[in-house]
């Protein structure tokens, strides 16, 4: 029997965005079909993984996540270099965790100096992720935008409460912004409209729909992403036709099921492999729902997900 494949009538395309500078540009987006539905459309740019680097040594990571980076965690530049040179990172995501007012609360100029140093020493595209405090991020991300002029950074999270200030600065210094909203398709669209009204160019916006890891709200993110893609690709919803980024590692590695030891919970099995799979499965679900950039931590989880992307692109 001849199989007549029922095809989806796609009417839209995800915007293609080029990140980074000089010879090390990376292009994301551009797909004209649902994730990996390659029998009825194209994904010219496979999803990419950005490796996490922290602005100061993390204190609450399990050994299994710390181990690959133990020799570099005190030095963000060395850490970033190791990700690139040893683990082949295509992008770096610098997490400005120590700017958090509820934590180390380092001042904006100090944070900017760290970001500048990392940016000077690496060639791959650099994502800068704030501490997710609206006011502090405004201050820190604006300083970083200024001091890293010409570096084509990707900065976020830019939220309803600070999009004006950060958006304007990002335009002035030519950086890309990450528009972040709490798991809600309407809020995502609204923020993209606001950024557009502010004259942030269309090829400088990436959507962050917010993430819950597996076992902790993953399904909400998953469905919001699928809805965003349905609207973008089949309903001509132009303000949702942007690539999607997910900052997932820091949500995954803090959950209890990843951190509890095998002695305490024998049924959970080998601790390192478990952590790696929690991260990799969270990433895999996000790929199925339409992710373009995944911010990840463990080299083994990254290896698995890269291979999965390769397989899915070749099928």
């Amino acid at each position: 029997m001849r199989i007549d494949i029922p095809r989806v009538a796609y009417t839209g395309t995800i915007k293609e965005i080029t990140l980074g500078r000089n010879k090390n540009k990376i292009t994301i987006g551009g797909e004209s079909c649902y994730p990996f539905h390659l029998f009825e459309g194209t994904m010219p740019n496979p999803p990419k993984i950005a490796m996490e680097v922290y602005d100061s040594a993390p204190e609450d990571w399990p050994d299994s996540a710390m181990e690959p980076f133990a020799d570099v965690v005190d030095d963000p530049v060395a850490w970033a270099r190791k990700c690139i040179d040893v683990y082949g990172a295509e992008m770096i995501a610098l997490q400005m965790a120590s700017t958090d007012p509820n934590g180390k609360n380092i001042p904006a100029d100090k944070a900017a100096a760290i970001a500048k140093k990392v940016s000077d020493e690496i060639e791959v595209p650099l994502i800068i992720w704030g501490c997710e405090n609206v006011d502090k991020d405004t201050e820190v991300l604006r300083s970083i935008c200024e001091i890293c002029e010409g570096r084509d950074l990707i900065i976020g999270p830019v939220v309803e409460g600070n999009y004006r200030a950060i958006g304007a600065t990002a335009i002035a210094y030519n950086h890309t912004v990450i528009a972040s909203t709490p798991i809600d398709i309407n809020l995502a669209k609204q923020l993209n409209i606001l950024l557009g009204n502010l004259n942030v160019p269309d090829d400088k916006i990436i959507i962050d729909p917010s993430i819950g890891p597996i076992g902790y709200g993953l399904e909400y993110t998953y469905s919001v992403m699928e809805r965003i893609r349905v609207a973008a690709l089949t309903q001509e919803d132009e303000r949702l036709q942007y690539p999607i980024i997910l900052n997932l590692a820091k949500e995954v590695w803090k959950i209890k099921e990843v951190n509890v030891s095998e002695t305490e919970a024998p049924l959970y099995g080998h601790k390192k492999s478990r952590g790696v799979l929690f991260e990799a499965l969270t990433a895999q679900c996000m790929l199925m729902a339409g992710a373009n950039i995944l911010i990840m931590r463990h080299p083994e989880a990254i290896g698995l997900v890269k291979e999965s992307i390769k397989d899915l692109m070749n099928s």
Binding site: M1, H37, E219, Y268, R274, L281, E307
Partner: protein, 445 residues
């Protein structure tokens, strides 16, 4: 899916006799269409029409049951492509593959991995469902012996796999009472296995070399009268086939594809980590049975959670009742904690309080199934509403002290809450519930 109320109405007797309990045939049709009434309530519908309506309102992907009793596993029954449209119905059955080429030691170690993998989360029990036994040895006796052994050692649902139709038939006859899935009918053997499945009323897997052949074999089996089929397109790189099969069933009502599928991540790689990733793709995109080479805690546990996530009802978060929960042997000096009624939040927090061995009162406020921060952001867990709830909850009669532990993530509201509850001292607990045992021990020291 199914028929609209008007379409059903056209097939009813149109006498408006009211025997169905509804005044008119039209009203009855409307109820049928929304699943609020049963066809049998109308005594005057002919058998023909009954079957017509029944078939048309069945889900486009048939529900197939494997196994019996408490271990009966339902797969299929799906009606949508995306989970946000309507809940996915039956989670894919995770299945352990055993081969009659394995020695006894290997069999028992893999089987005990399978049997041990039982987890409870938000009061739902999660575990892998089926055991597949594959004849690789070319020795029918060996295969039969293994099937018998597994039957004795687990009451899980079974899949019996053998290319030797004779050996397969023998084994199926022996355990047909357990309603095993027979694997697999092909272009060559479908007549024999089709009759066997009909005779023993067991579900039958169908394997084709590609989608076209698969459809052909299915059509032949449907023609023979088989109803419970499971599809294997033969592809060992399955995503595209899964999508096409589901779409054909839903959008084209292709009869041959109106069944759940079986997929084999265990045959697509020799690496358990990678296999787990492929299994995860198949959870999201339409696998009906997912066959795994091994059940290890570190691989099956995250898979079970991912499956639970994708198959929860997107419209209704799971909730627990608003009330005072007593954990352990509480007394008037026991600490009092508060959180929201999202199931996940409740079970995580109560689990940690239990683990602390410090008896405590846990106040659960109705937050409409929202987590702590989500509820706060939605205005359902602010100082005013918390204060109101604490006062009317009756906790003040149960304790002598007036100290309330709030979630660490709500630190910002503690001042306001102290104003709203002037008799109370507000203590800011840890952010993560996993730090509760240490915190409670210190508090009660």
């Amino acid at each position: 899916m199914g028929l609209s109320g008007i379409e059903i109405f056209k097939k009813l007797p149109k006498t408006n006799c009211g025997k169905c309990g509804v005044p008119t045939c039209l009203a009855f049709a409307m109820k049928l269409a929304t699943g609020q009434a049963e066809l049998d309530a109308c005594p005057d519908i002919s058998e023909n029409v009954k079957e017509e309506i029944g078939l048309a309102s069945a889900p486009p992907v048939r529900t197939v049951v494997i196994g019996i009793g408490e271990r009966a596993t339902k797969i299929g029954g799906e009606t949508v492509l995306f989970r946000h449209e309507k809940r996915f119905e039956n989670p894919p059955a995770f299945t352990l593959l055993l081969s009659d080429n394995m020695d006894d030691l290997e069999i028992s170690s893999r089987l005990s991995g399978f049997n041990n993998a039982v987890y409870e989360r938000v009061s739902v029990v999660m575990k892998p469902e089926l055991v597949a036994i594959r004849g690789d040895s070319a020795d029918p006796l060996r295969f039969n012996t293994l099937v018998e052994k597994i039957c004795n050692e687990t009451d899980a649902g079974l899949i019996l796999m053998n290319e030797d139709v004779e050996a397969l038939s023998q084994a199926v006859r022996k355990c047909s009472g357990r309603k095993p899935l027979i694997y697999a009918a092909t272009m060559e053997n479908y007549e024999i296995l089709g009759s066997l499945a009909l005779e023993l009323s067991c579900p039958l897997a169908v394997k084709g070399d590609g989608l076209e052949e698969l459809a052909d074999v299915c059509d032949k089996l449907i023609g023979m009268g088989l109803k419970d089929l499971v599809l294997d397109s033969g592809a060992r790189n399955a995503l595209e086939d899964q999508i096409i099969i589901r779409r054909c069933a839903l959008m084209k009502k292709t009869k041959a594809f109106g069944f759940p599928t079986i997929v084999f991540p265990c045959l697509m790689t020799g690496n358990l980590m990678k296999e787990t990733i492929i299994a995860c793709q198949m959870i999201a995109k339409y696998g009906g049975i997912i066959v795994l080479s091994e059940i290890e805690g570190y691989s099956i546990f995250p898979l079970l959670l991912a499956r639970m996530n994708i198959f929860t009802d997107p419209q209704r978060p799971m909730t627990v009742e608003e009330k005072i929960y007593e954990i352990g042997a509480v007394n008037e000096n026991s600490p009092v904690l508060i959180t929201g009624n999202f199931s996940l939040t409740y079970f995580i927090v109560s689990g940690e309080v239990e683990a602390s061995h410090v008896p405590a009162y846990l106040l659960i406020k109705d937050t409409e199934g929202l987590s702590v921060l989500t509820a706060w952001a939605a205005g359902k867990f602010g100082a005013d509403t918390i204060a109101l709830f604490v006062k009317k909850s009756g906790i003040e009669e149960k304790i002598k002290h007036r100290r309330l532990v709030i979630p660490g993530y709500l630190a910002a509201i503690s001042g306001e809450l102290e104003e709203e509850l002037p008799d109370w001292e507000i203590l800011i607990g840890p952010r993560e519930a996993s730090h509760l045992p240490a915190y409670l021990k210190q508090l009660s020291a």
